[in-house]
Symmetry: D2
Subunit: 358 residues, 4 copies
């Protein structure tokens, strides 16, 4: 199979990662890139690192989103939350299948409305499959619309799902999750809080106490895991699984590091806890469980996740740690992984497995 | 009163902050500085920012610790944990009162042995008063040895103590505390993990799951607060109050930001929670309670703490936030504050109240 | 004397530094602050580090610029280049003397037009005195309008002026000056290139090859030094002294570091070169000449400059190094220093002489 | 051809880049890695980003250098300057060809002695070919020892060589070169000046005024270019071409940015100058000449160089800009490029052409 592919939002950070992965993807026959602000300009005007590349990606020119959707088999949408649903619709109408990196295909219409406002095309949500691939492979096969999970949701869900699925967490005691998130998670558009002089030598909590919109996904994923276990299949009703979620913005370019602490509802040693993670992820190419505490730099530029777990013998509390690159496993990497599964390609085709250090 | 003062460990980061504050302190008549590695050299060899200063501090020369202790009234010890107890002893024998920034005067001998190893001068601990000034003013008045609390302990204790003292926290449900800590907290000695190329674009948990030594102080402070309330007086036995504590190293020079989440044992709104903090700190010059979430940069270079609190209406959980400069309220500032109280000076004499932005 | 003072542009980085220095200035009886975007809001809404300060500065409220100018004796203008000239005019009409941190009072009308566009009030330029205080003290005394020099111009002029004044530089061989400038020099307004994710792990030249507007000031100052020596007096015509100027943006919050390399037109050793600097600055409180190469952090948060010089015995070329805080000696500190001289106060009143490390 | 390859110094930053490139290199049949400090431990103990990789590189174990050299065809030496010459000798004796990333094979014995001390195996220098590949392809073919140039030397030589070769630079007027260098250039060993708290928010010149050892290479390369043009062949005597060189350490992980300013000895417009660069590099896969000023982040993680040039019409001076990743084109990438040429493989085999942004 050899596909014609378009990327919308190709001048944003999600788009950058997609360009890299899809331009090397052996099943992608042609690639079109769209950006309203860079329409008509060469790709290197948005991406200085692509200047002068002899390879195909360096020769691309941004089109309008409408133009880019014409005649493609697949559309990757790296456009903003709230503005993407119309492009999902347009892409489907143009006969393309969709990989949606925004939040607009992740939730049912009722939940979506609660966090983001009314969904303009609720009928399209019927076609969408949430794609945290490690848990949703079955659903994703053949999906018309793949909804790539949010970066924070991915990091937290990878950490907690195995324990919820295996019955180690009690619904009565919400796990306490802290996230350290680097600046690119907020997108490429300049903002006061992202100014180097404001963010360097700083760290700040934001959208705490149940106000961050990725909570909806996390609680949906954990809710399903509590009923269905690790492997999810579509089903009607899900009881959200409550989580306490405290994100912090830290001075970094890329990366998410989470620590999730919960009161175990079972007895078990640290070895038992590690075994829960190992059992969940032993066949996963992108998730590595290790004894060493994970550090953010180890996944920079990659599509992998590193996980570990500790038990505090004094309090009995368990803390699970995970780290991903918010632009890799948290965005473009996850989207391409979902694309691969939806189309039946080997799952890690085009992905980044090995980073660089330092 | 006009005092002769010595600083040991004056070429380390704790020493830097003491130099600044004590050289401007109106009750300090003379200042001697000691450093083994810089002995005999001018202060600017260790501190490039003091080069060429016409003021007194620029003209100082490092002495040996032994020499510096001769004929002083007060010794500030900014020397390493485990190596400071002998200097406490020497200073006391030389007739000086002591402000100890290390951990060596903070705990009773039994607790100290559990976390740091056997204490070489347990008899000196009788003279020591733990000095998180906001809670220990009465004890500190006239103290022979003031033990300045650890930076993490300060940030967490300021956040939780009012709620423990007011009965909002249950001993059965340990608060889950996360700390984001900048690099200077690890001291000035080079180390692999502090190398710019290793720490920039990184973040990593360390000493998690009950293994960080500042826990001993936190649990002592909260234990006392649960019995005595906010204002502490010396007493024999303390039941430690269990806390889950997860520190992370982040790429910053100075600063600590904490978030502590607990299940409230009482009903109450966010306003009620803010009121608990306001009530505890309304007369405090160095602690500011605000509705806005605190950010680390706002206290950089200062001796202040900023606090806020949020209630997650979905889960009922409460999260308290605090931020301090680990070298300010977390070290030199706190030490000078304790010194002021011990000697009966106005509490903020010599302290930094106003930082710079950006 | 006790003055009523206003700061326009008080929500920008220049304003932040002025707030700090003027709120502590013993000759400032009252302080008003203006910002269009924060009009009517408390000062801490723009400046999180001032939240909860019991001192006067924490209690200020932003006014409109028009309101703030009423009834004041002095107006500090920290508003943008090109938009400040009308405020200079308005302040003069309101009876206030002016300290202008923008470029709008620095040049004669012809030179200004070449770099910034037509000046709207050329008549006001007659009242303005350029205030790189170390060279212009005589002119500044009693000035109606003090023009605080640009940050790059200050760093380069401090490095080169003594050598031009002493005849070490030939007009035929332009010194080659490189500047490393941190992000705050670009102001507080968000911009793509200042986004943390774009500037961290980056460095880039900008406005090179004679296109940076601070060149006009540098070449004016050096031209005058070549005729008048170090101490400047107003005079009609100045031949600009050519300089090659290559600025780079680096990932830092504050700071400027310059290296200026020239072919000496005289013979002389490195000691001779150091002596030129010593002779020029020996009585200066804010300029320190040292043998050690200066580093940027040593002046962070201060109003001082550090200088050194090296001679390459292989090529005979001389390189002078200087570093300042672009927001200190390069902006607010210099403005207050000029204010002090213009009003006859001791020159370092209210200034920052000692920084913090790290 | 299918080679057995060893990397010495594989736990340092040069080694990290070699591991990445050689483990993917199709002509490398087997890979051994050596490190004294990690001997006997798995590769992930030194490199957290390789933890859990199913691919070959993740399964490697560090050996002693002596062991790793046994039975290999090629040895890559990423060991320190001054300590590498004995390993070159040992590798040659063991029958391996050598790619030396250190300075120990770059200079003739006399020049080496002047900058680094006496060379222990001057006879081996006869076998060595300096490998800034763009200029030395002919010499490198079949070389027994390839000397990979220093990172600073690479950046400066790429910028200036075309202009020296084309007669635009006069020997009487040394070009003034400034380098901004990130922290990894100093190696992985912790040091005071590399501590995050010391280097963040800092920038400092070092080894200025003709004292940096990379000068020897730069002046050799330019000297040869002045006689032989762009394409070099071995020859006995070289007159060094004088250059002024001012390096600065800046707070970054990886990257070098240079600006080299010279007085042109010919007339010519900016277009003419760009044409000189285009002519020199039009067929080069790793060097891109562009009108836009290059920025450091655009080459991070890659083996490419970006160049541009500007003419200051006011002074007539020319400034050439170049940027490389000091660990890519400045180290591992250049070494593998030289290896490819020495062995007759396609020149970019195994190299990194496309980075990531941000």
């Amino acid at each position: 199979m050899s596909l014609r592919v378009a990327i919308l939002g190709a001048a944003g950070y999600g788009g950058s990662g997609l360009l890299r992965r899809l331009s090397r993807h052996p099943e992608v026959a042609s690639l079109r890139v769209a950006s309203r602000s860079f329409e008509g300009r060469p790709v290197q005007d948005a991406w200085p690192h692509l200047a002068g590349l002899a390879s195909g990606v360096g020769a691309l020119t941004f089109e309008s989103p409408d133009a880019a959707l014409q005649g493609v088999d697949v559309a990757f949408l790296a456009t903003p939350h709230g503005a993407t649903a119309p492009w999902v619709h347009a892409a489907l109408e143009a006969g393309a299948r969709v990989i949606d990196l925004s939040a607009d295909s992740r939730l049912d219409a009722v939940t979506y409305a609660r966090w983001y406002g009314e969904h303009p095309h609720p009928e399209d949500l019927e076609l969408a499959r949430y794609g945290l691939v490690e848990f949703h492979r079955e659903e994703l096969a053949g999906a018309q619309v793949v909804a790539a999970p949010g970066c924070n949701a991915t990091a937290v869900s990878l950490a907690l799902t195995p324990f919820v699925a295996a019955g180690w967490v009690s619904r009565e005691r919400a796990p306490v999750c802290t996230v350290l998130a680097a600046a690119s998670g907020a997108g490429r558009t300049p903002a006061q809080g992202l100014h180097f002089a404001e963010l360097a030598e700083n760290a700040k909590p934001y959208k705490v106490a149940g106000t961050h919109r990725h909570l909806a996904e996390i609680e949906m994923t954990l809710g399903r895991a509590s009923v269905e276990g690790l492997t999810h299949r579509t089903q009607g009703e899900i009881d959200a699984w409550p989580v306490s979620f405290t994100p912090h913005l830290i001075p970094g370019i890329r990366g998410i590091l989470t620590s999730c602490t919960f009161t175990p509802s079972r007895e078990g040693s640290e070895e038992d806890l590690l075994e829960v993670l190992h059992a969940a992820y032993q066949r996963e190419a992108l998730v590595h469980v290790q004894e060493t505490l994970p550090e953010m730099k180890a996944v920079a530029g990659t599509d992998r996740a590193l996980l570990s777990v500790r038990r505090d013998d004094r309090t009995g509390l368990v803390t699970v740690f995970s780290t991903i690159d918010n632009l890799g496993k948290g965005a473009a990497g996850q989207a391409v992984q979902g694309f691969n599964v939806a189309f039946g390609f080997p799952e890690t085709t085009g992905l980044e497995l090995e980073g660089q250090w330092p």
